[in-house]
Amino acid sequence: MMAPTVAITGMNARPDNPGPGVAVARCLKESPEFKGRIIGLGYDALDPGLYLREYCDAAYLLPYPSAGDEAFITSLQAIHEAEHIDVIIPCLDAELPGMVRLTPQFDEMGIRYLMPTPGQLQLRNKDRLPELASHAGIHCPEIKTVSQVGFFYQCQDEGWSYPLVVKGLFYGASIVDSADEAADAFREIAAQWGYPVLVQRVVEGEEYNLTAVCDGSGRMLGEVMMKKMAVTDKGKAWSGVSIFDQTLYDASAALIKAINWRGPLEVEVMRDHQGRYQLIEINPRFPAWIYLSAGVGRNLPLILLRLILDEATGELPDAQPGVLFIRHAVETIVPQSEFESVIMNGGQHLS
């Protein structure tokens, strides 16, 4: 493999809801085949990935997506001038729409990527999942867009009953048992992520996830499937085990074919008490548990990088079922000078 400089976003890693960036960087850095450099990109000076010299060679802060495309690209251009970025791997849902809009500028700067088109991105929006699921022949709980809190006090009239799930368009999901709880969740999600807010019928069962890389031709490459064994208060995987289920494989392959997805993705499903898979979400990026892919012999960030660099991915080994991951929280010691550099200079070199 060439020795590319790879910029990776999502360096946040709060234990209850970590971003995928640190895990993506870890997959690449620990691979003997990877000879390049990693540039960690975060949005907050307390994002731990900005200080992890074992995974990042340099780290920088970006303006939040809400600051607009111009602020983002100006900041990225400055980083590019300093680091000569070859490849960018976005890892957060909220930044994907902006990143996709900015791909012409990435092309001008000579930064390579594998991202969906704006149309593909919209097709997997949470409010359009039932339509997509139906097209791919998989079940999906009903989803409704809500713009006024009054809905929650009259929802029974429309055939909705508690408990139900209140979700943001990008992030955030709460299971609520009453109208008052729903109204609180609605206000919180709207304040953090904006409108619309979505409601989804609750599916009881066990959660399974699949992650893969797609080349834009409708093919699913290197799929890795996982059953959550323990979750945080926010429902994020704290431990999981690799599995292989042909039914989940077929359903995911049909979804990907339906939208000709390009880039990494995660399919989240619930297996209900009748044994049917119900589509919950499609995330347009690697999941935070992506290091399991390296654990089962399919280093998906490395496969993505090979695709981006037009290198052969080769024959992929079967993903070994029965491999567990157990997450843990680690304190990273940060000298004041490094924190100061991130605050005052917007970044630092780690190697």
Partner: protein, 94 residues
């Protein structure tokens, strides 16, 4: 018709041999289902029954085999095996 068999000839009580053959069974008694991700443990007798069920789907033959090995009444044995089979079906989602 045999009360333990479905119309297609498969057992109405036992999990399908196809489902059982996918299980990774360790001699320690640790069992992992690579499709559902579930795991469970069995004792020595459970291990023997599992090995038998992976090869043979005949309940009367299994009861006869176990009856020769364990000094337990026929009805008690059948009740225990059916209960064990029910738990297995639940674990593997059969």
């Amino acid at each position: 018709m045999d009360e333990h068999r479905k119309q297609d000839g498969s057992s109405a009580v036992l999990p399908s041999s196809q489902s059982l053959r996918r299980l990774a069974i360790s001699e320690s008694g640790f069992v992992f289902d690579p499709v559902s991700g579930h795991h469970f443990t069995v004792n020595e007798t459970g291990l023997e029954i599992l090995h038998h069920l992976q090869k043979e789907q005949d309940l009367p033959e299994l009861l006869s085999l176990l009856g020769r090995e364990y000094s337990v009444g026929t009805r008690e044995l059948e009740r225990d095996v059916v209960e064990f089979a029910g738990m297995l079906r639940k674990f593997i989602g059969d």
